[in-house]
């Protein structure tokens, strides 16, 4: 089905929107860069430039030099912002403590997220970074954009911000690093009204939903990750921009169990594409892999001779549930034992494909370590068919949010709430029965805690009937 945007989209044309000329964007030579010294002494940062890896210090110096050479009236905040940022960072290394003050009440009108206040506590020494607010820009689904878009946002940020940005933050947003309070509304206006671009989530909000490349380029995607990401981003605008949750909440969408956006580790609600029929096998292609006619792993690892492909050693023996075997030269799979590790499919993509009856598995509760340490999402709904507008998914989302908003403590993530109450309570909230797929290991606790409603007659039942058969 062709993509239908919620509102008419205009093709951005950089030549019409650009702020800087080519000469201004290429205003220094490599020789000038070599001899350029930032205004502060930064020996430890200079050290970071050494070694084989790209360095943010090298990039920052380029940006510092460009701003140094641009006329001052071509930027709305001070040209020295990059140099002062480097200077303050050096000072933080010297002192062993940060000189940033984090948080505050800055934002754009009506939004509770998307802007994170940051200030220097050394404003006399580094006046150009007295304010250094971060803006989060909601990335397009799968981070697809063209150079017109990229150049336009780069010009905007050079003009109204520091020119420094992260591509991308951990949640996926494009991060604009460092501007003054008075620039926030003009940037927001430009983003919203000209670039048709929203801010992302921060604080106790739904954070910017993020998805893998999905059906756009990947044959394994079991559902349209981009479409679901787009739909839920639009449907939950209020949750994205007006915070009322106990803490952050993240959706991430993986098209298949390879998990290219690592939703299982990084989101409170992980959507992972799955199938409920059998892995499709092309036995002729299996033979071609075994015979060396097709390179395994899609031709990856080709820089070295790893010897002849051995299906037994490289695929069958590595299956975590031992559900594969050869009968003569035919590959067999006991699909009901498959745990969707994806290894066999990854090694022999032309021979093995996910099934055709596809949908999504829902997992809940991943988070990075703050309170209880890092935890992965728990498989809760093994399989669900998904079709736009995803009403069945939204129903689950809202049950979870209602419970978490009611019972969650301040700054308690969903995963911690599930841990505190236990999975049985969570299943009650979702109104689903326990299922074998939710069990990761046999129980180690021999006790069963009955609930009154699970016992016929309840706690106050008459035991006369029992006594009629069993003498005291």
């Amino acid at each position: 089905m062709a993509f239908e945007p919620r509102e008419e989209q205009t093709k951005l044309k950089y030549q019409e929107l650009r702020i800087y000329s080519d000469e201004e964007l290429n205003n220094y030579t490599e020789d000038e860069l070599k001899s350029f010294k930032v205004k502060h002494n930064i020996p430890d940062l200079d050290e970071l430039e050494k070694g084989p890896w790209p360095s943010f210090v090298a990039d920052s110096k380029r940006e510092a030099l460009r701003r140094h050479k641009l006329p001052e009236d071509r930027m709305m905040i001070k040209p020295e912002v990059v140099e002062d940022m480097l200077g303050q960072l050096q000072l933080s290394f010297d002192h062993g403590e940060t000189h940033w003050k984090h948080g505050g009440i800055v934002g754009v009108f009506g939004y509770g997220g998307g802007v994170i206040g940051r200030y220097s506590d050394m404003q006399d020494t580094f006046p150009s970074i007295a304010h250094f607010h971060t803006m989060r820009v909601n990335q397009p689904a799968s981070k697809f954009y063209d150079t017109d878009y990229l150049r336009t946002i780069c010009d905007l940020w050079e003009y109204r911000g520091s020119g420094m940005m992260n591509m991308h933050g951990s949640t996926g947003d494009i991060i604009f690093l460092g501007t003054f309070t008075e620039q926030l509304e003009p940037i927001f206006f430009e983003l919203g009204h000209v670039l048709q671009q929203d801010l992302g989530g921060s604080g106790s909000n739904l954070r910017t939903p993020s998805c893998c490349i999905g059906k756009a380029r990947c044959e394994w995607s079991c559902y349209d990750t981009q479409e679901m990401c787009y739909e839920l981003t639009h449907f939950y605008q209020d949750e994205l921009h007006r915070p009322a949750f106990p803490y952050k909440f993240k959706f991430k969408f993986d098209g298949c169990p390879n998990g290219c956006v690592a939703s299982i580790a990084r989101s409170d609600m992980s959507f992972i594409g799955n199938w409920r029929d059998d892995i499709r096998i092309d036995q002729a292609a299996v033979k071609a892999y075994m015979g060396g006619e097709i390179a395994p792993n899609g031709g990856a690892h080709a820089g070295r001779d790893w010897g002849k492909f051995d299906i037994q050693k490289e695929v069958i023996d590595l299956c975590p549930t031992s559900c594969m075997w050869m009968e003569g030269d035919t590959l067999k799979i006991d699909d009901k034992e498959c745990t969707r590790c994806m290894h066999c499919i990854n090694v022999m993509p032309q021979a093995l494909r996910p099934g055709k009856d596809t949908g999504v598995s829902l997992l809940f509760g991943a988070k990075a370590p703050i309170l209880e340490g890092a935890q992965m999402s728990v498989l809760t709904i093994p399989f669900m068919k998904t079709e736009p507008p995803y009403d069945n998914v939204k129903e689950v989302v809202e049950k979870v949010w209602d419970w978490w908003m009611e019972e969650g403590k301040n700054r308690e993530r969903l995963g911690e709430l599930i841990q505190r109450y236990g999975i049985p309570k969570f299943l009650e909230v979702l109104e689903i029965p326990p299922m074998p797929q939710m069990v990761t290991a046999p129980r180690a606790n021999p006790y069963i805690f009955w609930k009154e409603e699970d016992v016929e007659g309840g706690w106050d039942r008459s035991i006369d009937d029992y006594r009629s058969r069993h003498a005291r």
């Binding site: 003050k101 984090h102 948080g103 505050g104 009440i105 800055v106 934002g107 009506g110 939004y111 509770g112 997220g113 802007v115 994170i116 206040g117 200030y119 971060t134 309070t181 921060s202 604080g203 106790s204 909000n205 209020d238 007006r242 915070p243 009322a244 949750f245 106990p246 803490y247 952050k248 209602d402 908003m405 009611e406 301040n410 700054r411």
Partner: protein
């Protein structure tokens, strides 16, 4: 809506704190209107933000509500 907004402002004005979690606002409203739903409280709080009586305060990771003019200002 107006009674919810009033309950929020009564709480915000009488509190010694300058910032409140959403759950603080919700509890305060429920003392006055026990059957109020979280979503209604949120709508009322959002209306107060739009009227510039309340403000958001964000650390970046979590967000609180504050009263305009009390506690921290935009210059800090």
């Amino acid at each position: 809506m107006e009674d919810l907004k009033k309950a929020i402002m009564d709480y915000a004005e009488s509190s010694k704190k300058t910032k409140f979690y959403f759950s603080d606002l919700e509890k305060a409203v429920k003392k006055v209107k026990p059957d109020a739903k979280a979503r209604e409280v949120k709508k009322a709080a959002t209306a107060l933000i739009n009227e510039e009586k309340l403000i958001y305060f964000s650390t970046g990771s979590s967000t609180m509500y504050g009263m305009k003019g009390r506690g921290q200002t935009e210059d800090h």
